[in-house]
Symmetry: C2
Subunit: 326 residues, 2 copies
Amino acid sequence: MSDVKEVLGNYSVDIIKTIKEDLSVITPENLGEASIYLTQAGGKMLRPALALIVSEAVGGNSKLALKTAAAIELIHTFSLIHDDIMDDDDMRRGMPSVHKVWGEDVAILAGDTLFSKAFEMIITSKDTTSEQNNNALATVADACVKICEGQALDMGFEQRFDVSEDEYMEMIFKKTGALIAAATKAGAIMGGASDEVIDAMYEYGRLIGLAFQIQDDYLDLAADEETLGKPIGSDIGKGKMTIIAIRGLASDDSGRLLEILKDDENSQSDIDEAIEILKECGAIEYAHNLALESVQKAKQVLEILPDSSSKQTLVDIADFVLERKA
Amino acid sequence: MSDVKEVLGNYSVDIIKTIKEDLSVITPENLGEASIYLTQAGGKMLRPALALIVSEAVGGNSKLALKTAAAIELIHTFSLIHDDIMDDDDMRRGMPSVHKVWGEDVAILAGDTLFSKAFEMIITSKDTTSEQNNNALATVADACVKICEGQALDMGFEQRFDVSEDEYMEMIFKKTGALIAAATKAGAIMGGASDEVIDAMYEYGRLIGLAFQIQDDYLDLAADEETLGKPIGSDIGKGKMTIIAIRGLASDDSGRLLEILKDDENSQSDIDEAIEILKECGAIEYAHNLALESVQKAKQVLEILPDSSSKQTLVDIADFVLERKA
């Protein structure tokens, strides 16, 4: 697992450099600074690294995918900046969020600028064909529409306790999975893969994206508090719909779980009680199995690729999604 | 002039229809409605119509440019939605602005959605080559970066009374001219024009865009109040930097103009006094001549095109920029 972090770290060097170069031309100064800020703040760089690794795994040269990979990180950052405004989150990556530093107006604009730059970077990639740039851009644009739809769905779930499992899965796919899938697909496109392999790489990204999000829900209840860096059960405290809460609500006839989720001022013992209900009805295990299944399917999908160290890294990343503790 | 409005109106039918079709798939419902709202609210459709007319004037079939034209209107609408949030403008096109109806969060997302959809529409145009779609998209993406930079510059001008003419011209080019230039260039690209003609069409768009914005400044002081639909001199009342104010400040040694611009609570007689100063020092005439010159240059640029009714429409649109009274 630490190997995966190391691998992501190695890829991130070129990505961060490319982003910095491409954003350095933005004026005026405050917009340039606000745009570049989060990109240099030590994100995991999972999405762009995936694009580069996939481009190698399909037999391509990852240098040719670098602009597209960097662009995908810009799209991710754009969505974080706008989400932080909407959710009024003060902190991001251990630093004050963009709208806390520059105000909401500049934060909206910084997000828009990253968005614009991202498309410019993909479409002006010099080392790949027009067709490749086209396909990669269409993939990313499709993911962007889905990110917006996913965020709107997520906001619509607030104060709703009748969200179905299907609705939830659609939301997390759109909000998180779609861009990861776009990253792996775009990597395959830029690596010159066949249509069949390109589709398989989209599926791989989709599956690990789902596993990633479900694992987040799982860790909120099953992690070690110190490693997680926030209290166990905080999703329950906030009344947040997760796959586990949805499953639990479907099996809890007592109505107690719903009561706790609806309550804005739960004590720790209420939250512990909810966790107990979720454990007993098998909702926590259900989520864990769902994530496990997604990862297994993702690894099966990889069998279409010839063996290589890059392919092995993709296998390791799939495992990493479940092995991470925070 | 009424002919130009009629021509724009005729082109707008297909544009509005295309937009409606392409946005109809957006979910959830509130995001779909918020995204489509302003696009169906009777905008002038100047930018998309220009793209279509240019595509015909260079010898192409405007049907092939329709998706790109519609996409450019979406980009324009996206920027209006986000600008209205930043400027806290309550009304747009005679209706409550998007954030007034759906709230700021959904308005941010609706803008982002239009942005994403626009790129998707250009890149998936079926009737043009990958290369054409690529070039059109790069043109639009470049304009989007400029729109953000222009809005940031404009916000930076607030409470600044030492804005230079060059700074102002850069701001209006980026904020308004760049997308008009992108529309005329993209129309030329989709119409299959040569590189030389494509560049000329960008220049035509740039020039009428500048004239359009300068004429806005001019109308604020020289129009008929009833036709304009707002009080004469409202820019002065708000202390807004315009090309006229900048020119006036440079020649007004008395310091009275600066005093009036800085004052938040001007009476009508203060504003009339400022207008008198601006008239006397020739600042109003200067702006009018600048707009006139831009329009003349724009018409000269059109000489590269063979004669046709579409070319004549482009000439008429250039004249319309100055002939309009509001």
